[in-house]
């Protein structure tokens, strides 16, 4: 199916490659370059993906959050580069190509029958009506209709694309991936969960003030530094 792909301009490709520098082997890098240089979805399909992504995760202006989560503005799917991510995954996992393309096609077939126009020309209300029919898999059914399966796949890609982006990770509140000194769960969290560190366990744990002292043991294997 990749034969239908058009190639990116050299400039765009170089910009994309510059963006992704993360410890690839030469073979992996060549493979990624190949995929980044191709385009799978046609322009009209990309537009539909963008629209769907914005329906799945509409941009938010209000600050979300409560006492436990400092309010963070949610990012939008463009900032999270969700459409670019979905374009890449369709090439990276070719087995989803037909389901994606067929599902996007189904949207137009359905709206032409129901509203006599293409999906993208429907009003937001009409688009919501379409989604209402396909966004809720029947938990009791042994199999789901094609359009329901398609929407589940699209929702999964949008959600994971968003929550693995910089804005999405911020919104989620993940605090790690940086040098740190772990000294246990914060006290107020322990308290809130009715947990505590066993007194008898305390001597087994790292004394972080001594982590730079070179380890030494006595003959019984007791740490003495």
């Amino acid at each position: 199916m990749l034969e239908s792909c058009v190639s990116e301009s050299k400039e765009t490709l170089e910009q994309k490659l510059w963006e992704y520098q993360y410890g690839r082997t030469p073979e992996e890098q060549a493979y990624d370059e190949k995929l980044l240089g191709q385009q799978f979805f046609r322009n009209n399909e990309i537009e539909k993906i963008k629209r769907l992504a914005n329906l799945i995760l509409p941009p938010t202006e209000e600050k979300l959050g409560n006492l436990d989560f400092p309010p963070t503005a949610g990012g939008n799917i463009e900032e999270a580069k969700v459409p670019e991510f979905i374009e890449f995954m369709a090439k990276d996992i070719p087995s989803i190509q037909t389901q994606m393309r067929g599902g996007l096609m189904w949207l137009d077939i359905h709206t032409r029958k129901t509203y006599n126009k293409d999906f993208l020309d429907c009003s937001e209300d009409e688009q919501h009506q379409v989604l209402d029919q396909i966004a809720y898999p029947d938990p009791k059914a042994s199999e789901q209709k094609m359009e329901v399966g398609f929407f589940t796949l699209m929702r999964n890609l949008v959600m994971t694309g968003y929550f693995t982006s910089e804005v999405g990770i911020n919104e989620l509140g993940y605090k790690g991936n940086q040098p740190n000194v772990w000294d246990g769960v914060p006290d107020e969290v322990l308290k809130a969960h009715g947990m505590s560190y066993d007194e008898s366990w305390i001597p087994k744990f790292v004394d972080q003030s001594k982590r730079n002292d070179i380890a030494q043991w006595d003959e019984e294997g007791n740490l003495i530094s």
Partner: protein, 572 residues
Amino acid sequence: MQIIENQKQYDVVIVGSGAGGGMATKILANAGLKVAVVEAGPFFDPANPQQQTQLKWPYESPRRGAGTKRAFGEFDMAYGGWEIDGEPYNQIGNSKFDWFRSRMLGGRTNHWGRISLRFGPRDFKGKDRDGLGENWPIGYEDIRPYYDKVDKLIGVFGSKENLYNEPDGYFLPAPKPRLHELYYKKGAEKSGVKVIPSRLSILTKRINSDRGICFYCNQCSRSCSVYADFSAGSCLIFPAQKAGGQVDLYVNSMVREVEVNEEGKATGVLFINKEDRKEYRIKGKVVVLAASACSTARILLNSKSAQHPNGLGNSSNLVGKYLHDSTGSDRMAFVPELMNRKRYNEDGVGGMHLYSPWWLDNKKLDFPRGYHIEVWGGLGMPSYGTGFNPNDLNKYLGLKVGGYGNQLREDVKKFYGSVMGMSGRGESIAREDNYCEIDPTTVDEFGIPVLRFNYSWSDHERKQARHMHNTFEEIIENMGGVVLGNKPGADRDYGLLNPGRIIHEVGTTRMGSDPKKSVVNEFEQLHDAANVFIVDAGPFVSQADKNPTWTIMALSWRTSEFIIQELKKQNI
């Protein structure tokens, strides 16, 4: 095609650079021997920014960490996987053995779980207890001094527990458990399941000036750029070179066979250079095989000569036999009390902070041997898959599943960190009819005949897996969690994963004192060729419910000292 001769004469040619090969390199080079290390993959140094994946964010990749190109996700530091282009393997009948290979300097030690457990006294003498399998020709006391040395050289955190079959060592202090691990502890202890701090080869405290200290990013699977975790390159091979050792690395070099002289003694190895695809000969007084249990068996079986017509070391016909992997089965839990968690940096070390060693007496059970339980969960870094089925867990709360719109953001945030899991990893019984052998119908892209596998689980392993799930469910209930997924029944082997999936394959060149019933002696020396040694997990007679790496290294150290002695005595 002409073979390109290497004029250098080495004392030792080591095939493979993982835990076993790395340790042999370190000990033999430190003793002043001239060592060649032949590795099938490229050079790798976790400190090299070109190769580093540590501290990268998912959005630095166009696939956001997906596992399309690397089995455990694209930031995982294993070049290879269960399938490698150009290097096939086959199955016999309905066999489904999954063979994981990592082609790079340091091999699988660059990404492994760092679970560093000693085998205990009982683990060497399984047959004495239940009549199954075979005893090792050595016992815990033989290997104990080497475990001690490995602890001090490499560094392992843990705690003294005085448990008979979980011997204590020279431990660095353990990190405090994370929140989900405290939930696990509560649930497990209520069920009478022992819980202790885990034992991982990660530096929670400085052990020397060459290696850094853990900075708690949770990414040991990406191999640590400050060398705070154990990887064979950064902790064994580079230090051996730095100490002035005569170590020549031959990378991207696929060994095809061990060559022998008229007396049947090894003279060196033949390898294919992957870059120029030419054949090279490299000579040594001693050959040490450390290519991994199955790769070493493959090399031996492909080394046919007039002196060793059945393959090198294979007069017993046992090379490749008694292949066994750990049993494994996993289960997930949703813990409602962990919904809407307060956020903080909970990365910790790369792996669990506590675990359960085997805690039961088999006399009261319907299966032999045991398993340990690993725990996972927490406020981890998002990666490809985060946000999939964003609110499926709503069904346990009586709320709607599916939909679209900003409610989905709230659902993902609500459930973040509320799912955890348990993995049972246990001991299977080694059997002669579980094996790998040469498949005469297939070669890899280097023209080397490949392996085919014959492997099946028995009721011993199935019943063990059933017990794992009963235990998991009880623990999950005790901690106020909801068990996810259906309990796997007999139709699914009680959830037992395919052999090979736990990546602990051992036993293909087993150790013993009788040359008819074993391939190597207690010093991992071939019965059939005195100057060939095997220091990967091939010589394991049985594998215990422990991860094999610490035992591979202790044995490799012991064997390396034996090689030094024997060379001095001119016995080999």
